[in-house]
Amino acid sequence: MLSRVLVVDDEPAIREALERALRLEGFAVTLAGGGKAALAAVAEQGPDVVVLDLAMPDLDGVEVLHRLRADGVDVPVCVLSARDAVDDRVAGLEAGADDYLVKPFALEELVARLHALLRRRPRPTAVPLSAGDVTVDPLRRRVRRRGRDIQLTAREFELLEHFVRHAGIVLSRAQLLEGVWGYDFPTDGNVVDVFVGYLRRKLEAGGEPRILHTVRGAGFVLRPEAQ
């Protein structure tokens, strides 16, 4: 069965080009010309993955993401940002997107990412895990640190779970992209840095010490404090 991709962009030319290109890559493509149409299309068609433009006049991509995630829809979303400004991507990822691409992008890159986002990852074990003062409950998608509940988006949760499973081990950006995003192709690892930033902010919001450390030239490591 073909994977169903919903392409959301207000530019007809880009919609048409993406429709043709993704169809030729073997996707079943549906289109939406704006934010409201996108919400309706997700509700009706239940696509496997969404390509979402951020800048749209009626309802912008960030708002679409907020509404989807608020309704509990966890379809993988790759946002398209027309500006190479960090703010745009951050806004999209923070709202619950799984990845971003800056326009213009290589079709190959988009296709590889869509395949990765579609790849089924093994269901996590039901056993709660912990490292240091952080506890992760995969079944209930709950994170606690020092008795404080921490709200994470789906992708943030998966990244933290990965770190907790490999506590004390330095993980490279490529390893994280493969383990968490399913990317088995070379790509820029910036999305990892952005998500690590989010995790740190949320994990340290109560004044707790840093637990996710950067290892220069190597990657990141979750290091439980010596107790």
């Binding site: 030319a13 880009i14 048409e16």
Partner: protein, 491 residues
């Protein structure tokens, strides 16, 4: 060495006061000393004179040898010829014959006997080393001399004490003068300190909106510095604000322009990648993709053209050539008809409306207006040119969809499209028009057209006497400019 103005002024004042005190008190002490000595000399002369009178009246030194006198004198009772001289205190009165003391009143401190042949004033030392002031008078009737003397100690003590008092008072005056100056200078300099505080605040906070405090009691010199500082801050602030605004506008423009170029590039990139990744694409799909690619490329070129037109718009009017708006309207209509044969573009109004400005810029503006109208689906476009007293007017009417009243102001800005505008538009067309008109010191207004669509009215200042034949140098006297009449179109 740097020192504060305040301490310098205080130091100078202190020195001046000290100098004055030294001079004045030295003069005062000298005068006092002189007066005291004169008084002493006068009293000694008087005493000696009186004693000599008595001696002479009583018959010379013999009378003075009277033992009674010595007796009385010894008992301290002032009776007899010299009786009235007895109560002399520390003074000494001696009657001598030039070699021996014949009689004396007061305690003889053991001074040498003054010689008869040396009358007058002299300073003598006694056995204890004290200095006495002495006056000797010689009798004209006998070999008798009278010497009156008094110790100088009391006088020198008084002078010394006066000198000490003067020194104390002088020192106090110096301290008081310096302190008062220090205090007053501090008050006078406080506005300067306020100015400095303002300057430091500006330096620290980079907040150019700060102003120097100037109250009514500030000295005029300081107030002048304050107002100069304020004027400088004002200039800096407005210059900074202008620069920041220009930078912000440029930044925004660059961001918007980048955004505008990314969109067609994204479509093109996707289409190119699709062609590359699908070498065996069926011919119809391939054709569609290539057509889309070409359209995107044209769109990109159109946007670049529009961007460059906008960049030129602001510079345009500085060229200042003589331009006939009627001719430009005619040329624009012809070009529009060639591109859109189904549209009807008509030009009405005055046959020649001459303004000074940029032919290229004005043509671009009119091209944009007519092109916009046709692109938005107008079937008839009417261009009206007319000339008033000081304003040339260009009106473009169409029967297209128009622009809602609440968007008319906004759409003149770059990259702003109306709600119902074509997506393919650059969002720059009306911005170019606005830029050109602004560069010509003119006005743009958008309105409803009687034809049913949009009416755009451009007004550009003109001079009634200006004609096509007056050439580019209409201002200077005719005949001065002999060069080719650049830009002027004859006929």
């Amino acid at each position: 060495m740097t020192s504060s103005l305040r301490s310098r002024v205080a130091l100078v004042t202190g020195s001046l006061v000290a100098g004055a005190v030294v001079v004045v008190s030295a003069a005062a002490v000298a005068t006092f000393d002189r007066t005291e000595r004169d008084d002493l000399d006068a009293s000694l002369a008087q005493r000696a004179g009186e004693a000599l009178q008595l001696v002479d009246r009583h018959g010379g030194p013999a009378a003075v040898r009277d033992p009674l006198l010595a007796d009385r004198q010894a008992r301290g009772v002032g009776v007899g010829p010299l009786g009235r001289l007895v109560d002399t205190g520390p003074e000494l009165l001696r009657i001598t014959d030039g070699q021996h003391v014949l009689a004396e009143l007061g305690t003889d401190p053991g001074m040498e006997v003054p010689r008869v042949d040396e009358p007058g004033y002299t300073d003598l030392a006694d056995a204890e080393g004290r200095t006495w002031r002495s006056f000797t008078m010689v009798s004209t009737q006998s070999e008798t001399a009278v010497q009156a003397a008094a110790p100088l100690d009391p006088l020198t003590t008084r002078v010394r004490s006066l000198r000490a008092q003067a020194a104390v008072i002088g020192a106090l005056a110096v301290i008081l003068g310096a302190a008062t100056t220090w205090w007053l200078t501090g008050i006078a300099l406080r506005p300067l300190a306020d100015l400095r505080a303002t300057a430091e605040r500006v330096a620290a906070t980079r907040d150019l909106s700060q102003r120097a405090p100037v109250s009514s009691d500030v000295p005029t010199e300081v107030a002048a510095v304050a107002s100069a500082l304020d004027a400088m801050l004002q200039r800096l602030e407005s210059a900074t604000t202008d620069t920041e605004a220009a930078l912000e506008a440029a930044r925004q423009f660059a961001a918007d322009a980048g955004h505008e170029l990314r969109t067609p590039l994204t479509g093109m990139g996707t289409n190119i990648d699709a062609l590359i990744r699908n070498p065996d694409l069926d011919p119809r799909e391939r054709e569609t993709t290539l057509t889309a690619l070409a359209a995107e490329q044209q769109r990109l070129v159109a946007r670049l053209d529009a961007l460059q037109a906008l960049a030129r718009a602001d510079l345009a009017a500085s060229e200042g050539e003589v331009v006939d708006l009627a001719e430009i309207a005619e040329a624009t209509a012809a070009a529009a008809l060639a591109q859109a044969p189904n549209a009807q573009v008509t030009v009405t109004g005055d046959l020649s409306v001459v303004v000074r400005g940029s032919p290229g810029g004005l043509r671009a503006a009119l091209d944009n207006l007519v092109g916009n109208a046709v692109a938005h689906g107008a079937s008839t476009v009417g261009v009206t040119v007319s000339r008033g007293e000081s304003v040339a007017t260009l009106i473009v009417d169409d029967d297209g969809p128009g622009i809602p009243a609440d968007e008319r102001e906004r759409v003149l800005a770059p990259f702003v499209r109306g709600r119902h505008a074509r997506r393919e538009g650059s969002g720059l067309g009306l911005a170019v028009v606005a830029g050109v008109v602004r560069a010509h010191n003119g006005r743009v207004s958008l309105d409803d057209s009687s034809a049913g669509g949009l009416r755009v009215r451009l007004e550009v200042p003109c001079h009634r006497h200006l004609t096509v034949d007056s050439g580019p140098s209409a201002g200077p006297p005719v005949g001065v400019g002999s060069g080719p009449t650049k830009g002027a179109k004859h006929g």
